[in-house]
Symmetry: C2
Subunit: 327 residues, 2 copies
């Protein structure tokens, strides 16, 4: 912790350059751990807490498999992938979410994901042109909510209060996050996520270790191994379901063997099936810094994805600067 | 300069809180100077350079008055204010920009501001609904470009190459920025701004001092005093012209006696007619941190504008956190 304001120690991870100068700089923390909880790489304080936000979705989807819901309702791996998604609300995302709901005997009306315009700009523009308002199914989290509802139906849980931290499904998810990440439940801090379900905060170190376990299937309680690998394989098999067109998670899964899930406020979770979990948090929450910092960090771990620098263009198409990593 | 990466020393200025934790943090620098260049307040390194971006617009508008262009073409103070604007492309902004062009015998076709959707969301949505593409007049900088073109017509300068750093108007603006801020021209670094005209970088200290001079009319070369106060008074008289609905610059000018002009990458320039200039730069370029940091900084200077904290709401309208100052 720095003395300045009780904030975690972080370091400059990415910079926006213009002319001869750095115009803006993004600090952050990142940590890479193996499934046993051994640190492989760390920048900034790995003990300080981080909100997982949507990068918790692979954990939140575990009950779908563990409870037998996915098998009982015949959910496909595309549907499992969209249950782990922060999706673009492209047509194939909406179709997969609807299918989960139908198989569970539910409909769009049961979703309590809240509504926001589609994350993918062209879909949002189409909606404005049609004069339509976004519905809960267009929320990037609607697959997660559909999956949660399906578990409730299968397990006989109440479906109206499924977002409540005290609901049996949410209690079960909290227990799973704790088990996978090697924490006690009371070491995990809860708050409200923007879509209305619990958001989890835990040490960067614990989250990276948990990701390493999900990605490898190693060091997990026996009963979780198959579910973890099923979720991992579904996300890996359908990277466009997990995010969509022009999205970093999809791009990285298309181009590597990694499991990738981003979250709001510039969190990125990466699991390597060959042995580690990496968590990146840009301190200021800026999404634009995630790609250069992540590509540089992956380079440090021996995974070359491509050029971490990208050009910033002005309104006449000319190059006015670039954004790139500082590590 | 920090040892870490040759970056200016900055400090945490604002935080986004969720539940019990700070989820994201915004660092930055701010400095307050009087017209004589005496420091009144500083957080972070005031000597390090900052790109002024659009907060240079009051300086870039000086030739409109100094050259006699505004008088010769009968430009109103509303039109002078829009020449200093990063505007929302609301109808009254577009009308003022068109009027400047017409008075100079030009048209929208002469604007080289580049095009982007209106900054004000509802105007951008209207455009999508109409199926129109944004034109250069919708650019937030179109008033500045119209003003530059008017000066060129009045002064007999070439109007096709007015964006070029070597063009006589751009050379004149550079000289004015140097004179007002107490620098030599070669102490100012130039790069391309996104709209295609030169962007200026100078020490935070020099910019704050220059702002104090523009806002007070003090410590300026004699020939600049009247032009500076004319620009200041026009912006103060028409705060909606300078930005628009739901914009911080407009809000602060409506609620205080200050001169306020923001810029891209989270720069805010504030001039107090009673004696100082304040410059704030959020290091990571996040606009959301400008308001809380600025309101807190103004509070330090004895200007109370209102609550610097604001609530962050989830998709169900519930409070999920807050953003507020750390100073």
């Amino acid at each position: 912790m720095t003395e300045e304001a009780g904030l975690p120690e972080d370091i400059p991870l990415a910079a926006v350059r213009r002319g001869e100068l750095v115009e803006s700089v993004h600090r952050g923390r990142l940590a890479v751990y193996d499934p046993e909880g051994i640190v492989l790489e760390a920048f900034g304080d790995p003990e300080a807490y981080v909100y997982l936000r949507s990068s918790a979705k692979p954990f939140q989807a575990l009950p779908l498999v563990l409870s037998g819901t996915a098998d009982a309702f015949g959910l496909t791996d595309e549907e499992l992938a969209v249950a782990c998604a922060s999706h673009n609300a492209e047509e194939f995302h909406l179709a997969a979410v609807r299918s989960i709901l139908e198989k569970a005997g539910l409909s769009e009306d049961d979703l309590q994901s809240g509504a926001h315009p589609p994350m993918y700009g062209p879909e949002a523009e189409k909606m404005v042109r049609r004069g339509d308002d976004p519905r809960p199914i267009h929320s990037n989290c609607s697959g997660k909510h559909a999956g949660m509802l399906a578990v409730c139906v299968h397990e006989g849980y109440e479906t109206l209060s499924y977002r409540d931290p005290g609901h049996p499904l949410q209690r079960r998810i909290l227990g799973l996050v704790a088990d996978v990440c090697g924490l006690k439940e009371d070491e995990i801090l809860l708050a409200g996520d923007n879509c209305g379900v619990p958001a989890f905060a835990l040490p960067l170190r614990s989250f990276a270790t948990g990701l390493a376990r999900i990605a490898t299937g190693e060091e997990l309680p026996d009963e979780l191994v198959e579910a973890a690998l099923h979720v991992r394989n579904a996300m890996r098999a359908y990277p466009f379901m997990v995010a969509g067109t022009e999205r970093l998670d999809t791009e990285l899964m298309e181009r590597t063997h990694l499991l990738v899930k981003g979250g709001a406020e510039a969190v990125l979770a990466v699991g390597n099936p060959e042995g580690w979990g990496l968590v990146l948090k840009i301190s200021d929450g800026s999404q634009r810094a995630v790609r250069p910092a992540a590509l540089a960090a992956l380079g440090h771990m021996g995974v070359e994805v491509g050029d971490a620098d990208s050009v910033v263009r002005g309104l006449h198409g000319e190059t006015v600067g670039e954004i790139g990593p500082l590590i």
